[in-house]
């Protein structure tokens, strides 16, 4: 994986000192909250319900054992012994003190991490395929391009105050594991007819209160022109987006208002201009970064046999382990969704366990997924049993990847000042309702996603079953949505009907699941059945 050189380290270290100075001015009263807020937000520091919340960037979801241990140490030293993995492959701490934040940032910088641009009106952490570098179906490893983008989007002077946040994803496979088209700007790495590598470009996607699925605005962008093209997109948006209504300032609204064709025309015009400035990065820079992502030294001649005589281990392998591109190796998913637990939460002690496993069994590499789970990307099949045993001891061996209890949930009203309703208790009750592993296995792949408000951090628009918490005359209410997905088909979930209270929504989910079981055809997942029969095939079963 990528390692900082002296320049990267200097950038992050300087940022720490800049923020230390800004915190000092705030505490001395030289900055009021209005002035300080944008500064702390550009460093990932929110003020939430109970305290300051800090979102630390995990660039494209990749981290090593030293970084994971540092995240655990930070949880103990500055927080309350745990962290929360987010739907953008980041980690959040919920109980940070402003006066201590600069020291925390200094600790992060020691392990080449930061919280730069993880919030505010800025270009956020680049997301990617959690199996990058390990997946059998990828064209190339997308992460060198993610890292190129990380550096080129860190402190872009012209885009110091974008109209809203801007989210980028990059993948390099046909199967979409990163919800590509739900991003403002997304790249799929492709090969053209002459064998040249380039980008298929999507723009204008996003969730929130006005969801849009991104359009493809370019079939093929030569990789060497990425910086010019990205600047063109950003300039068109920065100049022409509305500035009078914060809810209508995301790029998806501009793309929608102008229309795909006109937006694309303006981007192409600006692109020509930027190309004429001849400011794109040299190929040598890509080569330098790509070298960090060379495949690890996989052992040759390993057996693909796994001893599955232990049924609990076999069940875990069946659910959590994915095919790897190297013979004798596997991708092992670690569930952060124990039944009754808090989706994405992990204790500092568990972070240490996972760090140890990565160091010992996975070439020191870990991944965070947008579904709030973790991945050991490169495990020898012969080591899977030892990994599993360690996970069992740490309470991390749930076998529910992509099942009904593998629920994405935002922090909701338990933590978030924007939320209208709690998300976590709903996730817990649904998981408990379907706790029986046999029942979960029978239901099969079913992606439930819960947001506590229309900002959609819990991705409810992309849920096979989506749940949206709303405030109904001062009490919590939940809307049920069906049919969303973040995969390569990408569909937006639709509202099924009137809302429910907390227990009612759990019952409604169960009725939807039972209806699927009743009408499914052999081999159909929940989403397949929904796509075949539509909302009409479910509505009566849910509402009677």
């Amino acid at each position: 994986m990528y390692r900082y050189d002296k320049y990267d380290q200097a950038m992050v270290d300087t940022r720490v000192e800049e923020f230390r100075d800004q915190v000092r001015r705030r505490l001395e009263g030289k900055l009021d909250d209005d002035q300080f807020k944008p500064l702390r937000l550009k460093n990932g520091l929110y003020l939430q319900l109970h305290a300051y919340m800090l979102r630390v960037a995990i660039p494209y979801g990749t981290l090593n054992s030293a970084q994971m241990r540092a995240l655990g140490a930070i949880a103990r030293k500055y927080d309350r012994g745990y962290g929360h993995f987010t739907t953008r492959q980041n980690i959040q701490y919920n109980w940070i003190k402003l006066a201590e934040a600069p020291d925390l940032f200094a600790d992060l910088a020691k392990v080449e991490m930061h919280a730069i641009q993880t919030s505010g009106e800025s270009i956020r952490n680049i997301s990617s395929d959690q199996y990058a570098g390990a997946a059998a179906d990828e064209l190339i490893d997308p992460r060198p391009w993610c890292e190129m983008l990380r550096q080129m989007t860190t402190f872009m002077p012209e885009f110091s105050y974008l109209p809203r946040k801007f989210k980028i994803a990059v993948i390099a496979s046909a199967e979409d594991r990163a919800a590509l088209r739900w991003h403002d700007f997304a790249l799929r790495i492709v090969q053209n007819a002459s064998g040249e590598i380039g980008f298929e470009v999507y723009a204008g996607g996003g969730m929130g209160r006005t969801p849009f699925i991104a359009y493809r605005i370019r079939e093929f962008l030569p990789t060497s022109q990425l910086f010019s093209y990205l600047q063109a997109v950003l300039r068109v948006w920065n100049r022409h987006a509305r500035r009078d209504n914060i809810h209508k300032q995301r790029m998806k609204i501009l793309v929608h208002d102008l229309g795909q064709e006109e937006f694309t025309r303006q981007v192409e015009e600006a692109f020509e201009h930027f190309l004429s400035l001849a400011e794109d990065f040299p190929q040598a820079e890509y080569d330098r970064i790509a070298a960090y992502f060379a495949p690890p030294p996989f052992e040759q001649g390993l057996s693909d046999e796994i001893d599955l005589s232990d049924p609990a281990f076999a069940a875990w392998v069946d659910r959590q382990v994915i095919a790897h591109k190297a013979p004798g190796y596997a991708i092992a998913n670690i569930s952060l969704k124990p039944v009754g637990g808090i989706p994405g939460d992990i204790s500092a002690d568990q972070m240490d366990v996972v760090a140890d496993l990565a160091e010992r069994y996975s070439f020191d590499e870990l991944r965070a997924t947008h579904a709030q789970n973790l991945v050991l990307p490169h495990v020898r099949k012969a080591d899977l049993h030892a990994v599993w045993q360690a996970l069992v001891e740490a309470g991390l061996a749930d076998a529910n990847l992509d099942l009904v209890s593998d629920i994405i949930a935002c922090p909701g009203l338990d933590y978030c000042s924007l939320a209208n309703a709690r998300s976590i208790p709903v996730a817990q009750k649904i998981a408990e309702r379907f706790a029986d592993p046999a029942r979960q296995a029978d239901v099969g792949e079913l992606k439930i996603k819960i947001s506590g408000c229309i900002n959609a951090c819990g991705h409810h628009h992309a849920g096979n079953i989506g749940i949206l918490g709303v405030d109904r005359k001062g009490s919590e209410s939940y809307q049920l949505l069906l049919g969303g997905s973040g995969d390569e088909v990408t569909t937006q979930a639709k509202i099924a009907g009137p809302g429910f209270d907390e227990d009612g929504i759990v019952d409604a989910v169960e009725r939807a699941v039972e209806q699927y079981r009743t009408i499914r055809e052999p081999g159909e997942r929940f989403i397949d059945t929904y796509r075949r029969v539509g909302m009409d095939g479910f509505k009566e079963a849910i509402y009677g």
């Binding site: 950038m11 001395e28 885009f159 105050y161 500035r243 330098r288």
Partner: protein, 149 residues
């Protein structure tokens, strides 16, 4: 709370050696109508490209930031520099001292903020960064070039 204005901080900051324009700036519409003024003021949201044919007779362009959250002026400034404008480019309005390094990089060479900067804060903001990741309207060399000579 300390009010910087009370401490008699300078109301403007200028990084040019030439004499400042002595006429007050006029609106973009007035500038295009009259054809005499040499100082023009661009409000957020106005299309700066209409000024491009006239840049050789302009000495001062003021770009207004109605709220610090409105970042359109950053693009306005950089586009003016890319179009070859070499006169004074002044940021006015709700300008945060913490953003002036990026403003300098976009081509601004003078500042007249609503709330005057503490000179020490401005100096710190401008001298803090030894390196930059990307090129802009200034002559700073991006890290990706430094790495490869």
């Amino acid at each position: 709370m300390a009010e910087p204005g009370n401490q008699a901080f300078p109301t403007s900051l200028r990084f040019r050696d030439d004499a400042a324009a002595d006429e007050p700036s006029v609106s973009l519409d007035a500038f295009l109508d009259q054809g005499e003024a040499d100082s023009v003021r661009i409000e957020a949201g106005e299309d700066v490209t209409v000024l491009f044919p006239h840049l050789d007779r302009v000495r001062l362009i003021e770009v207004d930031f109605p709220r610090f959250r409105d970042g359109r002026g950053f693009s306005t400034a950089r586009m003016l520099r890319e179009a070859g404008y070499t006169g004074e480019l002044k940021a006015t309005g709700d300008v945060l001292v913490d953003l002036i390094f990026f403003m300098r990089r976009c081509g601004f060479d003078s500042f007249a903020p609503d709330k005057p900067f503490d000179p020490a804060d401005a100096e710190a903001a401008l001298s803090r960064w030894d390196h930059v990741y990307v090129p802009a309207a200034d002559d700073r060399v991006p890290i990706w070039k430094l790495r490869h000579g």
